[in-house]
């Protein structure tokens, strides 16, 4: 069975991978805060933030190509902005288009908003991808738990990570069984079969959830989640946090 894993590069060994997950979560959040609070016309700063994050990517030994591929998720969202903002904003008109009877005006301010949101969204997404790729998911969960995320949300995330592939595999198996018996048939029939599969999958998932709960009870689960972690802050971690904040501050002051 084939599937891509959220944290498939998290087993590599680089300095970035070794940094305490809590420190990574904090520094990357700070990075995002700096990026999104940058004034919209400071494209030099966006460039420098970009250099910083690309530096970190190279430092992490994760292939830049794979990170680039993942970062494309941001496109559909910015495309929405692209479709709306430049055409419905007042300001200095840069050009006019005619789309049939529609008269569309592109303004300088509109383009600026587009560029600004594209840069901010892309830098933040790169940062998140790097965080997830360089940290094991279980460590990431522990880190956000220590940083105060409620345990219920934590458990939901942890179950999602544990079972999403199981459910996906169940779907793949059903799909294969269907394909193995699909010889012709109308398109409508195929869609009906798919709808049934989704329904079956839902019921199975529901039943599985009940069984998992029973298995938890069988091992003494009483509603309280107990976990242990072995995080230990080292000098290198604090150093990393300081370097991150210093470089962000200096970009800010450029």
């Amino acid at each position: 069975m084939k599937h891509t894993f959220i944290d498939q590069y998290s087993h590599k060994e680089s300095l970035l991978h070794k940094i305490d997950p809590r420190i990574k979560v904090i520094s990357f959040l700070v990075f995002i805060l700096f990026v999104i609070s940058t004034p919209k016309d400071s494209f030099l700063k966006f460039g420098l933030y970009g250099v910083l994050i690309i530096g970190l990517i190279l430092f992490s030994k994760i292939s830049p190509w794979s990170i680039f591929k993942r970062s494309l998720v941001v496109i559909p969202f910015t495309l929405m902005i692209f479709l709306f903002i430049p055409f419905f904003k007042e300001g200095v008109v840069m050009g006019t288009f005619f789309l049939g009877p529609l008269r569309l005006e592109v303004t300088y301010e509109g383009l600026q908003i587009l560029g600004n949101s594209l840069a901010k969204a892309y830098l933040s997404v790169l940062c998140m991808i790097l965080l997830i790729s360089s940290t094991k998911f279980s460590h990431l969960l522990k880190a956000v738990e220590r940083l105060g995320l409620p345990k219920v949300m934590l458990l939901i995330l942890s179950f999602m990570y544990r079972y999403i592939f199981v459910i996906y595999e169940e779907f793949l198996k059903m799909w294969q069984v269907k394909e193995a018996r699909s010889v012709g048939g109308s398109r409508l029939f195929q869609i009906k079969a798919l709808a049934n599969m989704v329904g079956t999958l839902f019921i199975r998932t529901y039943e599985r959830a009940e069984n998992v709960y029973l298995a938890m009870c069988a091992r003494g689960f009483d509603g309280n989640i107990r976990t242990i972690d072995n995080f230990q802050l080292r000098r290198g971690d604090v150093f990393f946090l300081l370097i991150m904040i210093l470089s962000l501050m200096s970009v800010r002051l450029v």
């Binding site: 969960l141 942890s158 544990r162 069984n211 298995a215 069988a218 003494g220």
Partner: protein, 243 residues
Amino acid sequence: MTRKAIEVKELNFSYPDGRKALVDINLDVYEGEALGVIGPNGAGKSTFLLHLNGILRGNSKIKILGIEMENKSLPQIRSRAGLLFQDSENQLFMPTVFEDVAFGPLNMDLSKDEVEVVVKEALKEVDMLDYIYHHPHHLSFGEKRRIALATVLAMKPKILLLDEPTSNVDPKHRRDLINFLKELDNLTKVIATHDLELVFEVCSRVALLDQGRLITSGNPLEILKDKTLLAAHSLEVPRWLSS
């Protein structure tokens, strides 16, 4: 006189749709005994096991190691009677093997160091120590089953309840498991299975269930050789026994 490890009196249980799953079951299991529960598909073997750990609660009086099954005694009972589920995928629900095996001991309020020791011991016993930081999803079926067994052993139970422990396990690891169960002779074991060889080698007594009723219980050799009895309940005398 050995003590009763499990005492089941007039156990009745119906599914929510009204179908009767267990009817008037009376059964005692003594400490150190290994009871094999056999029967056709849908006989109620799994349902019976689920009652011994308090997961299902029919209207009955069940005592585990002298402790009456009640809401407030459930934590005590669950730490003493460990249940290995049929589907290991559901039993391994944490992001890593370590956290999964640690789940039970942590619920028993052991300290961090103690937990680490029992987890490693349990994984060593099932020969899976190398997988301690793996994600359960990447493992094979047999490996998952062994880790599921470790999650139960880590709680240091007095009673082992095993639901189809050898199904879908390759011959080598099935043999390892049988030998391992034979070595655990200080534990009380209840094993629901279709694997009659396992029953014959490990169990000191056999209970035959069909349609939720306890048909008979007794010496494994006598029951496993009884052609007419087994045939009447969709079972078969194993070849290696009949010749």
